[in-house]
């Protein structure tokens, strides 16, 4: 891509650049390190000096250590990251977290504006998180295990089937309408059947997640295949490819973008369904953790659960997006 840019750069400009490096360095340092996020960090530290209004322990040290950790991480990232866009994104997220912490600390520990039983100060939540770390990990593993099993199984079945049905539908067939009809049924209505058919909570969950993912992925794959350009198919045809090659080496990559749309939808619905189901009928999982402690009025742990769910979803969508970006790296930007 940049071969031409490199060779095209006239020497005059290169010389110019060299002269400016000193001022460039200065603006580079400003760009990387002089940011609102660090001011927010300082503000957060300063408000710790205000007297507590809360009778109980606020566990402020945990919040302070968290913020210090975040600040060290931000400085490391600022020094290492290459793309300005990524740096901006990262720094904005940290700034948002600081802002939230400041407001939260002021509203709870410092001014006691909210009900302490429902809204514990941030330090307490962090300390609870550390205390419950092992328990949380077990519940995260349980939830992710179920999701991955149902989700990956659904993709493994829906993609080949979608390729095949899409290809047949291209040649004229009822497959499109049938899958549209079945896909239109919200997966939650399969739960009663799942419960009647399957022995354990886990198997019902896997089954429902399977269906929640299966239909959008099948639909995405089929519409992907049906929208592949004739040009692409003709060039495969004149190479005389066999049917398997046509489906897996041509149709699959050509419809990948649409397949990902289906996968993304399946993932979102799976999470909603699983956490809801865990709240109702499970003895483990993140939904169970949240529901269980809120039943006991332990809102510190409820908030811990909520934060963990948020983090898990962010991490999973980050991984998902990275995979998608990698597999679609050939697409023009």
């Amino acid at each position: 891509m940049n071969i031409q840019a490199k060779t095209a750069a006239p020497p005059a400009i290169a010389f110019d650049k060299k002269e400016k490096t000193a001022s460039n360095l200065k603006s580079e340092i400003i760009r990387r390190y002089f940011r609102v996020v660090h001011a927010l960090f300082v503000v957060f530290m300063l408000i710790q000096l205000l007297p507590d209004k809360l009778a109980s322990d606020t566990y402020a040290s945990y919040a302070i250590w968290f913020a210090v950790g975040a600040e060290v991480l931000t400085l490391i990232v600022s020094a290492l990251i290459k793309k300005p866009v990524s740096l901006n994104l990262f720094v904005d997220i940290v700034a948002f977290i600081y802002g939230l912490l400041i407001a939260w600390t002021l509203a709870t520990a410092k001014f006691n504006l909210l009900k302490p039983a429902l809204f514990p100060p941030p330090g307490k939540v962090f300390s609870q998180f550390i205390e419950d770390y092992d328990k949380i990990l077990v519940n995260v593993q349980s939830s992710i295990g179920i999701i991955l099993q149902g989700y990956l199984l659904a993709i493994a079945v829906a993609v080949p089937l979608g390729l095949f049905l899409g290809w047949s539908a291209r040649l004229g067939g009822a497959a499109t309408y049938i899958s549209k009809f079945l896909g239109a049924i919200p997966p939650i209505v399969y739960i009663p059947y799942g419960i009647a058919l399957l022995p354990t909570f886990r198997s019902v969950s896997v089954f429902v997640i399977f269906l929640a993912t299966f239909w959008p992925v099948l639909g995405g794959t089929m519409s992907g295949v049906m929208n592949v350009e004739k040009k692409t198919i003709d060039s495969a045809k004149v190479l005389n490819v066999n049917k398997a090659t046509m489906l897996f080496s041509i149709m699959l990559p050509a419809s990948l973008q649409q397949i990902f749309i289906g996968c993304n939808q399946g993932l979102t619905v799976s999470f909603v369904l699983l956490t809801s189901a865990e709240m109702i009928g499970a003895q483990s999982g993140l939904g169970y953790y949240i529901k269980n402690y809120s039943d006991f009025g332990d809102y510190t742990r409820t908030i811990v659960g909520l934060i963990v769910v948020g983090i898990v979803i962010v991490i999973i969508s980050f991984i998902f997006n990275s995979i998608q970006k990698f597999l679609l790296r050939w697409k023009p930007a």
């Binding site: 060039s235 004149v238 190479l239 005389n240 090659t245 050939w330 023009p332």
Partner: protein, 270 residues
């Protein structure tokens, strides 16, 4: 027996109850190892003709025989370069060529296929761009990859639809020479049979044994003209000869008389 026999080929495109005759009663034959160019104004059915030869369309009536057998669909005996470059966007230039090689030569190992791909990408002048995706290449570069793919597949028959149309003058000359060189070979192997569509009369004269001139509405063969120049042809010398200019003028006047006839008649197509 001719290598390719096109017999009374008629192709109608049917769209919403309206039918359009793109080719009407087209017949001509091509000998084994012959290089045939097809020229004619835009819309006269050149691409349509090739699509039947490729086996991705079937004629309304008439047929095409290759080695005496009617064409039934696509086949690995024919290598194709489309008018609109058509690489697989998810494969790098190298993979695109290697993929083509794999389809005709199932026994070749992965490294052999890649070696062949590299060799032909070198030949079309893209050694630096082997690992680029089509979206990172210019139109002309993409077309060169498609040409490399068709040549690397080493098929008996080559079907090329304005392959050099999108390529700059300098590379066009290089590629014309490359094509001739590969086609002429070293005399050990039988020559490929080539059907080559072009708009460029000089290109047609330089490359072909025979030129088939087509006329539009409906698409028909207007003239078949043998190219009288000896091979190997030297472009620089050839274009300076009297014979060349005489021949070229003859082709041009035929071409324009066809259009003049059209203007004189009812249909005016330019």
């Amino acid at each position: 027996m001719s290598k390719i026999e096109i017999k009374n080929l008629t192709v109608d495109y049917v769209e919403k109850r309206k039918s359009f005759t793109a080719l009407k009663d087209v017949s001509f034959s091509i000998e084994e190892g012959e290089f045939v160019s097809v020229i004619g104004s835009s819309g006269c059915g050149k691409s349509t003709l090739l699509s039947i030869l490729e086996g991705i369309n079937s004629p309304t009536s008439g047929e095409i025989l290759i080695d005496g057998e009617p064409i039934k669909g696509t086949g690995t005996d024919r290598g194709v370069v489309f008018q609109h470059y058509s690489l697989f966007p998810w494969m790098t230039a190298r993979k695109n060529v290697a993929f083509g090689v794999k389809q005709v030569n199932k026994n070749a190992s992965r490294s052999e296929r890649l070696k062949i791909a590299d060799e032909f990408l070198d030949k079309v002048g893209l050694e630096q761009f082997k690992n680029k995706y089509p979206s990172q290449l210019s139109g002309g570069m993409q077309q060169r990859v498609a040409i490399a793919r068709a040549l690397a597949m080493d098929t008996d028959v080559l079907l090329m639809d304005e392959p050099f149309g999108a390529i700059d003058a300098k590379n066009r000359t290089i590629l014309q020479e490359l094509l001739l060189e590969l086609w002429e070979g070293d005399g050990t192997k039988a020559r490929k049979t080539v059907v080559f569509v072009t708009h460029d009369i000089d290109e047609a004269i330089l490359l072909s044994d025979k030129i088939v001139m087509m006329t539009a509405n409906p698409g028909r063969v207007y003239r078949e003209i043998e190219v009288p120049f000896e091979r190997p042809r030297n472009r620089a010398q050839l274009v300076q000869t009297k014979e060349y200019n005489k021949f070229r003028n003859k082709l041009l006047s035929l071409f324009y008389s066809d259009i003049a006839e059209k203007i004189g008649g009812e249909e005016v197509v330019l």
